[in-house]
C-alpha cells in the first residue's frame, strides 16, 4: 500500500458514498410522492362511494314519498333526473383538476338541493312525516350527508399533504421530472354551505 493508492481509494470512497446517499434520497422522495398520490386516489374513491350511497338511497326515498305525497310529482321527477345526471359525471382520480372537480361538485349539489326541496315539500303531509320507514330513511340520508362531508374533508387533507410534498424544495425538482401535478380541493359551494336540513 503506497501513499498514492490509499489517498486515491479514500477519494473514490467519498464519491461512492455521496452517490449512494443521493440515490437513496431520490428513491425515498419519489416513493413518498407515489404513496401520497395513491392516498389522494383512495380518498377520492371514498368520497365517490359516499355520494354513491346517497344516490342509492334515492329510489327508496322516491318510492316511499310517492305512496303518500300525491301532488309532488314535479319534485320527485327533479330528484330522479338530478341523480341520473350526476351519475354521468366521472372524475379520473389520477387527474383531479379544479375544473373537473367543480363539475362533479356542481352535479352532486344539484342532487342535494333536489332532495332538500323534496323533504321540504313533505312537511305538508303529516302521515308521511310520522311514518316510521320514512323517519328511518331520513336518518339514513342525514347519516350519508355526514359521511359525505367527512370524506370531503379527508380528501382535502390528503390532497393538501400531497401538494405540500410535491411543491417543497428540493422535492419539487423530482416531481417535475416525473410529472406529479397539483391536485384540486373541494371548495365550499356558493350559497349552499350546509347539507339539506333534516330536522323536525
Amino acid at each position: 500500500m503506497n501513499k498514492g493508492t490509499i489517498i486515491g481509494l479514500s477519494i473514490a470512497g467519498v464519491l461512492i458514498v455521496l452517490f449512494i446517499a443521493l440515490f437513496s434520497w431520490g428513491k425515498n422522495s419519489y416513493n413518498s410522492m407515489v404513496t401520497a398520490d395513491e392516498n389522494v386516489s383512495q380518498s377520492w374513491g371514498n368520497v365517490e362511494s359516499q355520494y354513491q350511497r346517497r344516490s342509492d338511497l334515492i329510489p327508496n326515498l322516491v318510492a316511499t314519498v310517492k305512496g303518500y305525497a300525491t301532488h309532488e310529482n314535479t319534485t320527485l321527477t327533479e330528484v330522479v333526473e338530478a341523480r341520473a345526471k350526476a351519475t354521468q359525471v366521472t372524475v379520473d382520480p389520477t387527474n383531479i383538476t379544479p375544473e373537473k372537480l367543480a363539475e362533479y361538485q356542481a352535479a352532486q349539489s344539484q342532487v342535494g338541493s333536489a332532495i332538500g326541496r323534496l323533504l321540504v315539500s313533505v312537511e305538508a303531509y303529516p302521515d308521511l312525516k310520522a311514518n316510521e320507514n320514512f323517519k328511518e330513511l331520513q336518518a339514513q340520508l342525514e347519516g350519508t350527508e355526514n359521511r359525505i362531508s367527512v370524506e370531503r374533508q379527508r380528501f382535502n387533507d390528503a390532497a393538501k399533504a400531497y401538494n405540500v410534498l410535491i411543491r417543497r424544495f428540493p422535492a419539487n425538482i423530482l416531481a417535475n421530472m416525473f410529472g406529479f401535478d397539483k391536485k384540486a380541493y373541494f371548495e365550499a359551494e356558493a350559497g349552499t354551505e350546509k347539507a339539506p336540513q333534516v330536522t323536525f
Binding site: I7, K135, E136, A139, E142, G143, N146
Partner: protein, 424 residues
C-alpha cells in the same frame, strides 16, 4: 369618600362572580374532559352532572364489562351546552380526536347528549357501522332514549340507551365483526428505525473515508519532516505522533488498517536504516534476533521474552563498537521492577484474604512478581461492605383516580360520520 363606596364595589364583584358561575360552560372538543385518561375503567364523561350517580355507576359498569368481553369501546358524554356548533360534526370530531375504539377494528361508539339543544347523537366507528347502522341508531335514540328524556329522566334515559346498544352488540352473530385481537404495531416503528440506521451508516462511511484521507496526509508530511533526523530519533518521533491515531483505530478499525500498514512500513524503514560506525567509519551490522541474544544481558533477554521491550544490536565487525537501541512495545502490562529495574514486573495473581460481610469490610491482595529477579510484592486493598437493598414495594401506581387503577387511553379507532341524531 372611598371608604363609603367600598361595600358597594364588593357587592358588585360578588354579584358578577355568582352570575359567571351560574352560566353554563360552553364545551369545545378540546375542553371536554377525557375522563378515560385518568382512570381506565371510566366510560362516561359528565362534567355538568346531568346524569344521576346511580345511573352513571351502572352505565360505567355495563360498558366496562362490554369492553372487557367484546373489546368494543363505548363511551357516554353528557354536556349542558356546546354553543352553536353542529352537533353531529362535534361528535365526529370528538370521536376522532379521542380515538375511541380499537385501532385494528375501529369498534368504537360515542353517545353524546347536549342538553340545551335537546338532542342525543350517536357516532359509530367504521367497524360498528355494519352492526349499528344509522337506522338502528336512530331507532334506539327515538324509541328508547327520547321518551325518557321528555320526562326529564336524563340518567335513566342514557342508561336505557346503553342497554339497548349493548343488546345489539352482544348478539353472538356480531361478535366476530366487533372483536379485536391485540396485534403488535411494531412495523411502523421498525421502518423509522431502519431509516435512521441507514442515515447513521452513510455518515459513518463518509467519516471513515475522510478520516483515512486526512490521517494519511498528515502522516506522510510527518515522515517527510523527520527523514533528516537520526533514524532512531525519527522512529521515536513517528511513534509518539501515531499514538493519538490509535484511538481512531478503535472506532474505525477497517479504515485505519491501511494507515497503520503504511506507518509500519515507514517506521521499519527508519529502524533498519543502515548506520555508520562512529569509531572507524565502516557500516554497522544489525544482529538478528538470535544473534543479538549473545550481546544482551540476562535482564534484557527476559524483557524480550515477556514482550515488553525489543532491542536492536548494531555491531561493527572491524572495531568491535556496539550500540543497543531499545524499542518499547506500546501495550504491555509489565512495569519497571523496583529491584532490578527491568521491565519484567507485573501482577500475577489476586487473592481474597478476608471476605466482606454486611458489618465489616474485606481485604484482598494483588501479588506482583518480577520475572527476571523473582522479587515479589504484596499490595493490599479493601473490599467494601456488602449492602443489602430494601426489597422493592412494587405494586400498581396508586395515586390516580380512586382505587389504585392507573390511567388509560382509547385504542385509536376512527369514524366517518356514521350514526344518527334524535331530539325532543
Amino acid at each position: 369618600m372611598k371608604a363609603a363606596f367600598k361595600k358597594e364595589i364588593l357587592l358588585v364583584f360578588v354579584f358578577l362572580a355568582i352570575v359567571n358561575a351560574l352560566q353554563a360552560k360552553i364545551w369545545t372538543v378540546s375542553t371536554v374532559p377525557n375522563t378515560r385518561l385518568s382512570d381506565a375503567r371510566v366510560c362516561t364523561s359528565d362534567p355538568d352532572d346531568l346524569i344521576d350517580p346511580a345511573s352513571q355507576a351502572e352505565i360505567d359498569r355495563l360498558l366496562l364489562n362490554a369492553q372487557t368481553q367484546l373489546t368494543a369501546e363505548v363511551f357516554v358524554v353528557a354536556l349542558q351546552s356546546t354553543g352553536d356548533v353542529d352537533l353531529k360534526s362535534f361528535a365526529t370530531e370528538l370521536f376522532n380526536t379521542w380515538g375511541i375504539g380499537k385501532d385494528e377494528k375501529d369498534n368504537g361508539l360515542l353517545i353524546l347528549l347536549v342538553l340545551d339543544q335537546k338532542k342525543v347523537t350517536m357516532e359509530t366507528g367504521y367497524g360498528l357501522e355494519g352492526v349499528l347502522p344509522d337506522a338502528i341508531c336512530y331507532r334506539i335514540i327515538s324509541n328508547v332514549i327520547v321518551p325518557l328524556m321528555r320526562e326529564g329522566q336524563i340518567g335513566p334515559g342514557m342508561l336505557a340507551g346503553v342497554q339497548a346498544v349493548l343488546k345489539v352488540l352482544s348478539d353472538p352473530a356480531a361478535a366476530e365483526e366487533i372483536y379485536a385481537d391485540p396485534v403488535n404495531q411494531q412495523k411502523a416503528n421498525w421502518e423509522q428505525t431502519k431509516a435512521l440506521l441507514f442515515n447513521i451508516l452513510i455518515v459513518y462511511l463518509l467519516l471513515t473515508f475522510v478520516i483515512l484521507f486526512l490521517s494519511m496526509n498528515s502522516l506522510s508530511r510527518k515522515v517527510k519532516s523527520v527523514v533528516s533526523m537520526e533514524p532512531y530519533d525519527a522512529y521515536k518521533v513517528l511513534n509518539t505522533s501515531v499514538t493519538s491515531y490509535r484511538v481512531l483505530a478503535f472506532l474505525f478499525p477497517l479504515t485505519m488498517l491501511p494507515f497503520f500498514l503504511y506507518y509500519k512500513k515507514k517506521s521499519n524503514g527508519f529502524r533498519k536504516k543502515p548506520r555508520i560506525c562512529p569509531q572507524c567509519g565502516k557500516p554497522l551490522m544489525l544482529m538478528s534476533e538470535k544473534q543479538e541474544d549473545a550481546y544482551l544481558n540476562a535482564g534484557q533477554q527476559t524483557e524480550e521474552m515477556v514482550g515488553s521491550m525489543d532491542y536492536d544490536a548494531w555491531v561493527c565487525m572491524d572495531c568491535g563498537y556496539r550500540s543497543f537501541l531499545s524499542y518499547t512495545k506500546s501495550f504491555t502490562r509489565y512495569q519497571s521492577c523496583p529491584k532490578c529495574h527491568f521491565k519484567t514486573y507485573a501482577q500475577t495473581s489476586d487473592r481474597i484474604v478476608s471476605v466482606p460481610t454486611p458489618i465489616s469490610t474485606g481485604q484482598g491482595v494483588h501479588v506482583y512478581t518480577c520475572v527476571n529477579c523473582d522479587y515479589e510484592a504484596l499490595k493490599y486493598y479493601t473490599i467494601p461492605m456488602i449492602i443489602i437493598l430494601p426489597s422493592n414495594r412494587g405494586g400498581r401506581g396508586g395515586g390516580f383516580g380512586g382505587g389504585g387503577f392507573g390511567g388509560g387511553s382509547f385504542g385509536g379507532g376512527s369514524s366517518g360520520g356514521g350514526g344518527a341524531t334524535g331530539g325532543w
